[in-house]
């Protein structure tokens, strides 16, 4: 009943889309993180003219569908003559860059909230202690605030990364041939939708499984101070 050679061929075809899927996910999360840190700092700055536009940005990008954002950038911007003739047009007419920009702007809005929460979770005592030691603001952030916030943000950040892996599938709607794009193309050629979609789903599941594992490993590395120190054989012999 199961046609294994068809499944295998489908798998080989769809795997060629994995690099693009990963490239989109990794670069948009990387770009989004830079923007998200800036947004979170602006929101926490206490300066009205910085905090208010940030709130508005986060509100707009979190309340509208990602697909609408992708269409606005890919199809929408071409409406303006000024943009079509500007130096940005070679970038903005490429579906790859439009997808990357939309994904980055979108994930920045969500992760700025994660980062804001993480920054707020840094105990004030730690900051006070650092100040008392005479640290400058840049040193304070580099040595104390960011490392502590990173540890706090990591689990939520992992979820955001998995969401982005799934979100890259929308890039197929603006013609990018990543895993979902290839799957849609195969379906239109062979009409064997169920088998193809099962294989595509399995690929995404595997990617997300590996991402989860990687994050658990990173989390383990960052929380070493919370675990008991390993008991050495030497200490056991001395019968401590």
């Amino acid at each position: 009943m199961m046609d294994f050679s068809f499944l295998y061929e489908t798998l080989l075809t769809l795997l060629t889309g994995v690099p693009l899927t990963l490239k989109l996910a990794v670069s948009s999360v990387a770009l989004g993180t830079v923007l998200a840190v800036a947004l979170a700092l602006a929101r926490l700055s206490g300066i009205f003219m910085l905090a208010w536009p940030t709130r508005f940005y986060v509100f707009v990008f979190r309340s509208t569908p990602l697909l609408v954002q992708i269409f606005l950038i890919y199809h929408g911007l071409g409406q303006f003559h000024a943009i079509r003739t500007s130096f940005l047009w070679p970038i903005l007419r490429e579906p790859y860059w439009c997808a990357l920009i939309a994904l980055s702007l979108n994930t920045a809005a969500y992760s700025s909230e994660v980062i804001r929460g993480a920054l707020l979770s840094v105990p004030p005592g730690q900051i006070e202690a650092a100040r008392a030691c005479g640290m400058r603001t840049t040193v304070l952030y580099r040595r104390i605030v960011f490392p502590l916030a990173l540890r706090q943000a990591l689990p939520a950040y992992g979820n955001e990364f998995i969401l982005m892996v799934k979100a890259t599938s929308l890039a197929s709607i603006i013609t990018l041939m990543e895993v979902t794009g290839l799957a849609a193309k195969l379906i239109s050629q062979s009409f064997r939708a169920i088998e193809i979609l099962v294989v595509a789903g399995a690929i995404y599941l595997l990617i997300n499984f590996l991402v989860t594992r990687l994050l658990q490993w990173a989390d383990y590395g960052l929380t070493g101070h919370l675990r008991l120190p390993p008991v050495s054989a030497d200490a056991l012999h001395r019968g401590a």
């Binding site: 707009v60 309340s63 509208t64 569908p65 990602l66 697909l67 609408v68 954002q69 269409f71 606005l72 199809h75 929408g76 911007l77 071409g78 409406q79 303006f80 998995i162 799934k166 979100a167 890259t168 599938s169 929308l170 197929s172 709607i173 979902t180 799957a183 849609a184 379906i187 009409f191 064997r192 939708a193 169920i194 979609l197 595509a200 789903g201 995404y204 599941l205 997300n208 499984f209």
Partner: protein, 236 residues
């Protein structure tokens, strides 16, 4: 001729069509959310009270559906149903591509995806109900049905509401993906408008604003309901 006229309600205005799209978006999102609520309640029950097999099935369901893109699930219902229906249609003399209507495929897909999230929400909410309350109800002689109706359901609803609200906002945005099936909701209307007027930015911006409005109104309603449901636990 400004774009205000283009999106207005006068002659050649796209206002009525966009509003119709908004109603369709609400309809498909609500239907999907409702299906998801049924699946979520069943899934939570399976995870909490089920045997080895049903727990395993529920775990597999939530892991898989939360790990694959929603678009694949929509394709599965839309194209997958055609893999079954087209040969079936051939038996009755029909020819060509037959599939589930976009509305049905879309709301089933949304239901299946959001059901996975709602399973987790309902499970967490049930576990937040203190066992003392249930014990007290049993001690005062309530039957299982009364216990569920009077004690468990209201308490679970109160604990689940914030989580369900988040899922609703997800579902609302996810419904935009159903436009790939050709269902004329907000985004599809905007695509048609963009295509026939050559003003894509105007139309997609209008679509974004409509989603923003629906999500803001539902957010306000949810906060109000939450306020009402927690009135027993607020300090006076």
């Amino acid at each position: 001729m400004g774009s205000g006229f283009l999106l207005g309600f006068g002659e050649n205005g796209w206002g009525p069509l966009l509003l119709h799209g908004a109603v369709m978006t609400m309809a498909v999102a609500l239907t999907g959310f409702g299906i998801g609520l049924l699946i979520g309640t069943t899934g939570a029950w399976a995870k909490l009270k089920g045997g080895y097999l049903s727990r395993g099935l529920a775990d597999a369901y939530t892991t898989i559906l939360r790990g694959i893109p929603d678009l694949l699930v929509i394709y599965l219902f839309y194209f997958g149903s055609s893999a079954v229906l087209t040969p079936l249609g051939g038996l009755f003399g029909a020819s060509g591509f037959i599939s589930l209507p976009g509305f049905l495929a879309g709301s089933l897909a949304i239901g299946l995806v959001s059901g996975a999230y709602q399973t987790e929400v309902m499970r967490g909410a049930y576990r937040a109900v203190s066992s003392g309350e249930i014990e007290a109800a049993i001690a005062s002689g309530m039957s299982q049905l009364t216990l569920f109706r009077r004690i468990v359901a209201p308490l679970v609803l109160r604990h689940a509401l914030p989580g369900l609200g988040n899922v609703w906002q997800l579902v609302l945005k996810e419904s935009a993906l159903v436009s790939v099936t050709g269902l004329v909701e907000i985004l599809r209307t905007a695509q048609i408008g963009a295509g026939s007027t050559g003003q894509p930015f105007t139309f997609f911006l209008a679509a974004a604003v409509l989603y923003l409005v629906i999500s803001s109104i539902s957010g306000w309603l949810l906060r109000r309901t939450e306020w009402r449901l927690t009135r027993g636990t607020r300090p006076v």
